[in-house]
Symmetry: D2
């Protein structure tokens, strides 16, 4: 035998649960995409095809729905914690359970200004998400976040004075469009409890900072948004961002005898800059 | 020669324009994906590689940006009309210009309840769209619409008493989730002018009908939404829908000794029902 | 009532069937994505929610699998004909059945140069497709085709002498990369029978023409491929193409003191030219 | 200030290079999607908007094309090494360069059985890939791989005797379809040199094992493929897989009075099992 198994895990992805909670005529809607991943004593199935320890991925899928039925939860973060605990508590062969949930954004349709009881429309492409990693015997690690939060501002953004060398052709810009699709993950600390409130505080701080702080670059904006999120929510200790720079490139109007006045841009998806960073609370 | 050219057209797709209109400190944002398609006297380029009549697709692309610069417009519908007219007016070899535009949905970020002057976030995955078809010598045909307007309601929807035969296994449902992603196209008549207002009236009527009218099936809901749109906006004469039925399937809880209470569903993308229909104003 | 139903149809899309035919140890594999669309006497369900005539889309889905089980077929075209006939023959309320099938491309894994009996890998992103439209009382219309057939050639392609005006900036190119993703549909005539052979003849003629004929433009190449297909297969009377021009743009090496030698290109997806045309056999 | 920057990196993604190497009339084609990511002394741009150290992502993009022009390479792995070395050698502020390349699969169009000199068609959806991580002062870490290698076998696959509990509903299967889309990464050792040959050996071993080894589960097949790859290529020390289990689910024919004979399946994308594992050469 040429090789040995040195790492392994398995699970089920794209388990899509819709849960409706009927509080009288007012319905709560959860639409959740779950990915569960287990680590533990599973070497025998890899090496010998002995599957007796293996909780089938189909079984994992069933569990999402059954636990979704049997347990009450008010937030996707709570549901992730419940699921992770379930896998650790139920299967001694599991040493680590990873639960990743993404929640679709729905808002109530407004009828004469009043949110409807049970009819919804999309609130945007962004997904609230959470990842709970629970190692047997340890405390769960709870990381909340958001995926795909689109933002764009048409001014108050610069990009200049960056490194000059043979490979640079981009000119300094003292006024450009800044557009990105925010992916952020924040590490909750032990005080986290009101996850809806935490989500609103953090995403609100991110949006406010993006809108109101002058930007000297995506990197600086990342730092500003991270600090604002830490300020806004004491229940997190750090926050990480992945910010694609979705360029709007000034269209070259010169050949047509016209002048660019920060008005006509080519919107592009690729290539894109990708700026990453983690901001951690002082002392943590 | 085995064959002759019996139909042809060509153009440029996925031309992505960002236009910013600066009214003092308040900026208007247009993000538009354009597809232009021309018909006319182009046989020579197919049959002989004689390209002298051909307005290159790259030229078409340039035109979107240059006309976007030179002309003022307040709505995507107006811009489509301007573009179609441009191609007919500029090129005698063009007999028909088709202009299709899709506009991304942005809303101003709210800061302390007040919409920001120049910072935006996504207002949802739906796109407002318009298709202008202008044949030389005729009036332009202007079709407005929306793509990808997500809606879901958790009750007030039935599906029962449908055809019974050997191939049917689905049971009657007197209470089910109804979810779809609305694609609609509406044909403007000669009175159309205030396109923002028309769009609000029509999409508002669609959402209100979806939320408040009891549904006996996607087909009935389509008819109801169509009639409501015609009622709400006198500037359109007909409306067509394509409604994918994005099924939420009750999860089978029986094997687990649990009872389905309209609460736990499997969300699916495929297969999907696809219901189409056109509602036309009486007398048109 | 503001409006009346003036057009309608419905059906099921994205019905994904895998059929395995076991000829002893050698297995045949069909992976098919089906979209079925019915027209007929269905006004009552739109106008009154009376669904008694409606063959549910779930029933349609079942039918694809049951008919797929009960009927033998050697090609996806035959299966489409069988399905369309089934809906017309079984449901008097159906006046027209549209069946669209797309088949995934698999090839047998070669082991020591020998195709394996039952193990497969992808033969490419292209899908063989067929659309059968059967109106009650008429003959079926059978349109075969291919979707997503990627081709690229690095030379023997020009684009020059096209229309010159204010909006043109693109220079003549006497040597460029030509890349496209061929979508083609061909109308079978009454002699069509050996669909595997027809598919090979037509797609072979398309590939050969693309590779070996000098191109003065996508339009000319379209015409050449269409004529070659008609020459290669007497069982079709016309062929239509949609050819996105997937531009490879010369990278501007000048700022770096380097010379473009038809070697370094930026590959792009958007915007893209879109060239369409139909070539019809003389006399048809 | 609430927080400090504790991790950061940035770069450019989706840089798409097409390189043509003209060896007389025979052309070599490289189509590469590059993602470059740099770490180093960049804190000032995050904390103060001081960008002087920052090699702009636009500059990084230019570099891919310019280095692609100036340097010869025969494989995508060599190009990745050249690029990583370039960033380390050129910029003292960079401490670590990560270069990830994916290469599209093209094969020459066969004309009368002979591969054409400069015309290509897709060889499949799979991408050959490589990731080079070069930390200043250390040796580069070179990881080759493949993404999206589709395989399916219609028999010689079982899934049975797995864990039984309340949440299990899936029955044992002694004969099922096994389908997956292989993502694999292999760690080259210092003897690696002939990367085309290595790629052929490894991917060939993977395909052969998948086709010819009986499977008791995806986990076991993963182990078998990993061992075969290590056996086939001495230039790698370990190999990691991510194998989505793309389920083909037996269609329930019972309601129709028909018998499942391993013939009629529902092809699904989601949910999917996801099996991961790393096989390491003994002694490494």
């Amino acid at each position: 035998m040429a090789g040995k198994l040195t790492a392994n895990s398995y699970g089920k992805s794209a388990v899509r649960l819709t849960k409706v909670v009927r509080n009288g005529s007012r319905h709560e809607l959860f639409e959740i995409d779950a990915a569960i991943n287990l680590e533990g004593d599973f070497t025998a199935c890899y090496e010998k095809g002995d599957n007796r320890n293996v909780v089938a991925t189909d079984t994992i899928k069933n569990t999402v729905y059954v636990v979704g039925k049997e347990k009450s939860f008010a937030t996707v973060e709570q549901f992730a914690i419940i699921l992770a605990e379930h896998f650790i508590a139920t299967y001694p062969q599991v040493t680590k359970a990873n639960v990743e949930l993404q929640q679709s954004s729905w808002r109530r349709i407004a009828i004469d200004g009043k949110p409807h009881d049970y009819a919804f429309t999309s609130d945007g492409p962004q997904h609230r998400c959470v990842r709970v990693t629970w190692s047997r015997g340890a405390n769960p690690v709870i990381v909340g976040g958001v995926r795909g939060l689109l933002v764009l501002k048409t001014t108050a953004s610069e990009w200049r004075d960056f490194h000059i060398d043979r490979y640079r052709t981009l000119k300094d810009a003292s006024d450009r469009i800044l557009a990105t699709q925010i992916d952020a993950d924040w590490a909750f600390n032990a005080t986290a409890k009101e996850f809806d409130s935490h989500y609103e505080s953090i995403s609100g701080a991110i949006l406010r900072t993006f809108a109101t702080q002058h930007s000297l670059g995506v990197q600086q904006t990342l730092q500003q948004m991270g600090e604002a999120a830490l300020d806004a929510c004491g229940a997190i200790d750090s926050i990480s961002f992945e910010l694609p720079n979705q360029h709007r490139i000034p269209f070259n109007l010169e050949p047509f005898g016209l002048k660019f006045e920060h008005d006509i841009f080519v919107a592009t998806d690729e290539p894109y800059g990708l700026i990453k960073g983690t901001i951690t609370r002082e002392g943590k």
